[in-house]
Amino acid sequence: MSVMTLQESRPAGERYRAEFDARWSASDALVELRRAALERFVAAGFPTQRQEDWKYTNLRRLEARTFAPATSTAVALDALEQHWIANAGIRIVLVNGHWMPALSSVGAQLPGMTLLTLKQWSEHEPAAVAAFIAQTSRAQPSALEDLNLAFFEDGVVLDLTAGASPDQPIYIVHQWSDAAAQLMSSPRVVVRAAANSRCTVIEHFIGSTASECFTNAVAEIEVGTGAKVEHYRIQQESTRAFHIGHVNVRVQQDGRYASHDIALGASLARLNLGTVLQGPGAHVDLHGLLAPLATQHLDSHTTIDHAAAHTSSDENYRGIAGERGRGIFNGKVIVRPDAQKTDARQSSRNLLLAPGAEIDTKPELEIYANDVKCSHGATTGQLDGTALFYLRSRGLDETAARALLIRAFAESVVSSVGPPAVRSHLEKLLDERYGKSS
């Protein structure tokens, strides 16, 4: 065991405060905002399993370790490039949470679209950034969102003007450098899609470092009236990583948001995906695939808040747990008193590939309106022995037959993936994970 992983006796809050004090001493508006967030985090501490939302996910391992905020490091292109999705779109690469212009697409600005880095902006206009962050953050951030707010240094701000429709996806790579160890990365992504604009944002979390790292990533997404945002979140961190994600989405009238939550990596991962449908006609589609293997613990908690009438949501999560992997899906749907004519559908289907694997799935419906349609269904099962025999009786060997059935189980999520480059990347990952089906 290296010295870095020795557990300290000081409480986690004190340790993060020490990291904070070593890092920020100025007293501009942004540092004040950070400090307030830090103090809230210290007061609240890491969530514990006593909190209903964290019942299935124990963060003691994360809490016990000290992670230093990652600084910007120079890295060689070829070490990183092999892990990217080729031709996925306009590429922005953040290494250890810091934007690397040299690795990113050149001349990335398209009509109606502004992309900027939070770091450059905050170096020049900390007060403006503080105001922007305050305005684009959730009113009551969770403790770990506060931790991000205290320590974020960089990230991406994507603004789309009314009616803008960039012809390529925005591909954001969140990558750990190979040498990263005991580091914390706190990236923030802010997407503001003005009325009737549309865009596809692909967030790709990758790392091949053999050491422990901690990603604590926030995305704030505003979907304007009639706008449409497709959001991919492909989490492929290294198997010793901790990954906490927070995605907060607000959808205005007739806006559409679609999420594709693909969780394959990390030792422990938790995504809090919250959407609020704020205007009539707003719609969200949440697609998810949780695929823990070995001893991975992958947890997605989603909330769909129908805050206006005539809103609709469709949620489809698939869990595939192998070996001693554990998956958790919690799908909360809130229908506010005024949100009549809400149409909410939720489906959680899960597949256990081994006796030691486990998936906990829980729908959570809070319905305060009376004229609504809400449906939910959850199933957990094993590979169908009859289907396996059927395929083998047609000449497919057992490995191929199993792989084919697993792929078939994931198909409804895979087929929701639009961009061909992302889809073939996902198919390749699934083939690597479960064996080739052909």
Binding site: Y390, L391, R394, G395, D397, L405, A408
Partner: protein, 253 residues
Amino acid sequence: MSMLKIDNLHVRAGDKQVLHGVSLEVGAGEVHAIMGPNGSGKSTLVQVLAGREGYDVTAGSVSYQGRDLLALPPEARAREGVFLAFQYPVEIPGVNNVYLLKAGLNALRQHRGLPELDAFEFLSLVREKMKLMHMDESFLNRGVNEGFSGGEKKRNEILQMSVLEPALALLDETDSGLDIDALRVVANGVNSLRRQDRAIVMVTHYQRLLDYIEPDRVHVLSGGRILKSGDKSLALELEKRGYDWVKQEAAAA
């Protein structure tokens, strides 16, 4: 030449003995029908031949083209030319019908040292076979048996059979759940596959199928034993008189 030789086969499913010593020999080019009341062990017999797990062979042997069939996993049996048309074909959403056909055929070809068919060769082969089964091409891109009617599922089984061209075809109640038109189509499909180097074993409950597919031999399986064998006239007699007389005759013997 003997295609299939079953000798004194005893099979147990869980703690229930289902087959109590079945012996049967099927030659190349022959069509055999196995008839019998519900629960007689007909389906168990063909499932054991195809390699379904969950059955224990407690005694006896099965030789297929001179080889020990029971020693092979199901996929090896398929590659060696054994095909089971399921009584209840499985729905597999998310796997394309055409994908399964192609994967199956290529697995067989690879096993026999033949090159894989390219997409063009494969599609023209499948289209030709589909015409025979009166199947629309839209079936190709649907999930395997997904949302198919009972008749469509059975036609799909025979389509697979005609693509995989087995040496030994086992048809498990292929006639059940078919209306008369679908029965004709399925029977025509099976008849078109009758060849000198191919054997067909049909399990059926009713004589009706045998009006369309004429068997060389008919066997009555009851209580896990073959009680009587004969030519196609036996089937007509069974239709007229039921199974009880065969049981009584066997008990008296």
